[in-house]
């Protein structure tokens, strides 16, 4: 597969994504107070690196993902992708297409990003037509390449989303995300809803894609075992701030922040004894 990297040229040792002092405040509606979802987050993602953002609901991890992919505007702070700082405010059509060739996102529920009346082949062709000036034959070849990359056969390529299994739909969502040849794939709980055997297939697939293309992953997840399998480095978020950052192996083998330790101790396994916290802590 091709390894060309889109976007502005950047030095190889420069991080691909640099996020600094990132903050997002959601205005309270109906007289409710404002909510600070992300509060001064900073991290980098290197070229070809896989970074995990770990956290529970309300940690702000999804808001970070949405800001990096341009689905949400930061309240303040900077996001730099491939050496270019994203300008604040709404982006125009050309800028949005450019960003779409830098970052792509895959969600937990692929249904939301699939048109129920569009066949997979047509959905992929449409993205290619929007982003690249390809001949019809070249476009057909590229569609086949994408289908092969995510392990879908021709039968699925001609099917509608409702005729597919959950695993197949998630493969389609990944193929759509890869179509623009992004340098970063943001995966927001992308394997969380899959059955165990299908989840393993998709995790293997993601490893293959990264090895073959040198793409970077920003892997948003609450699942520490999955994070161990597919990421090099991890940040742990709680209440909008990063509480710990380390290589994934060290973070999980030697968690130092109390919250990371609590997360680690909450993973069931042989000999696991779940413990009650105090009633006060439990009410939170």
């Amino acid at each position: 597969m091709s390894t060309d990297t889109p976007g502005a040229p950047a030095a190889q040792d420069e991080p691909l994504i640099r996020v600094d002092a990132l903050r997002k405040v959601f205005k309270g509606r109906h007289g409710r107070p404002d909510v600070t979802a992300v509060d001064g987050v900073a991290f980098t993602v290197g070229r070809g690196e896989s970074l995990a953002v770990v956290g529970e609901s309300g940690s702000g991890k999804t808001t970070v993902a949405r800001m990096i992919t341009g689905l949400e505007q930061p309240t303040s702070g900077t996001i730099e992708v491939a050496g270019r700082v994203r300008s604040p405010g709404r982006a125009g059509a050309a800028e949005r297409r450019r960003r779409a060739r830098e970052t792509q996102i895959v969600f937990q529920d692929p249904y939301g990003s699939l048109d129920p009346r569009q066949r997979v082949r047509d959905a992929l062709g449409e993205i290619l037509a929007l982003h690249f000036d390809l001949s019809r034959a070249a476009r057909t070849d590229r569609v086949e390449e994408l289908l092969g990359q995510v392990g879908l056969d021709a039968r699925v390529a001609d099917a509608l989303p409702r005729a597919m299994s959950g695993g197949q739909r998630q493969r389609v969502a990944i193929a759509k995300a890869l179509a623009t040849r992004p340098s970063v794939l943001v995966l927001d709980e992308a394997v969380a809803a899959l059955d165990v055997s299908i989840q393993a297939q998709v995790l293997n697939l993601l490893a293959d894609i990264r090895a073959a293309s040198g793409i970077s992953f920003l892997f948003i997840s609450h699942d520490l075992a999955v994070v161990r399998q597919v990421t090099d480095r991890a940040v742990v978020m709680r209440n909008g701030v990063i509480v710990e950052e380390n290589t994934t192996a060290d973070l999980l083998d030697h968690p130092s922040h109390p919250y990371t330790r609590l997360l680690r101790a909450s993973v069931p396994g042989p000999g696991w004894t779940p413990r009650r916290r105090s009633a006060e802590a439990a009410s939170g």
């Binding site: 529970e56 297939q201 075992a225 909450s266 000999g271 413990r275």
Partner: protein, 329 residues
Amino acid sequence: MTLLRIDHLAVSLRLRAGDRAILRDVTFDIGPGEAVGLVGESGSGKSMTARAIAGLLPSGARLTGDIVFDGASVPGMSRAELRAYRARDIAMIHQDPSAHINPVRTVGDFLTEALRTNSGWSKAKAAARATDLLGEVGLSEPAHRLRQYPHELSGGMLQRVMIAAALAAEPRLLLADEPTTALDVTTQAEIMAILGELRRDRGLAVLFITHDLELAAATCDRTAVMYAGEVVEDQPSTGLHAHPRHPYTIALLHSRPTIESTADRLPAPPGTPLPAYEAPEGCAFTARCPYAVDQCATDHPVLEPLAAGPGRVACLRAAEIADSPEVAQ
């Protein structure tokens, strides 16, 4: 001694296109105070098994085999018997508590309704009992919670309310259908701790339905594994985890990544889980099984006791696999 016995249960739904099998052969039992995990992927029939136990199958469902609770056949119960069984003997909690609570009634109304209707208690007595129950499931300020509405509570708090409601009638069997799947991991640990305590304190039997084999193995006495509408293996949880006997159980355990290490490659079985109505004549796992031989496609395996130790497995090659698990093909 057995509290619940499920004996070759099969359920099919009558659809316009014909009968569609949902459960094909479910056999396991639960002793008083015992926790049994029922594990499987989507479409394996775990939830339908729970519905059959609760006598809540969709209308037009055809059932063969038997479900026996404390000596009484559930499919054979009259309407009145079924009502009493559901009100007193069993209780159920679900994955999404907000779908099972009236959003415009208070937590207190929800908790006291059954006590007042089924037990004929006064409002004050029921409220006092509800307050105690909320305390037991670890909610702070229980008296205040009674006046709150469901939307004012987090998912973990609401699941505690559901557990409190399930316990109100002091049932002997709790059917817990993925009760922690939608919760954060730290909240899951908390809920499992509470369920474990209640079970020990009250001698409550639990059927714990989950897709998470690790969670079932860590919290249940025994674990039964379902595939395509059938129980294919049933072992004490420690044994199942250390020495899985059915190729599907082996595949489930191995394909799940672990928090301790990174695998070069996850040994994922090929293909997708099969719904019961698509199951072939022989073993439903044949097409995905690394141990499969020709005979597997035609001969339907039945649950047989393990050669060594307690437990049962439905696999033609179980003995060979037990002797040397690495023998594939």
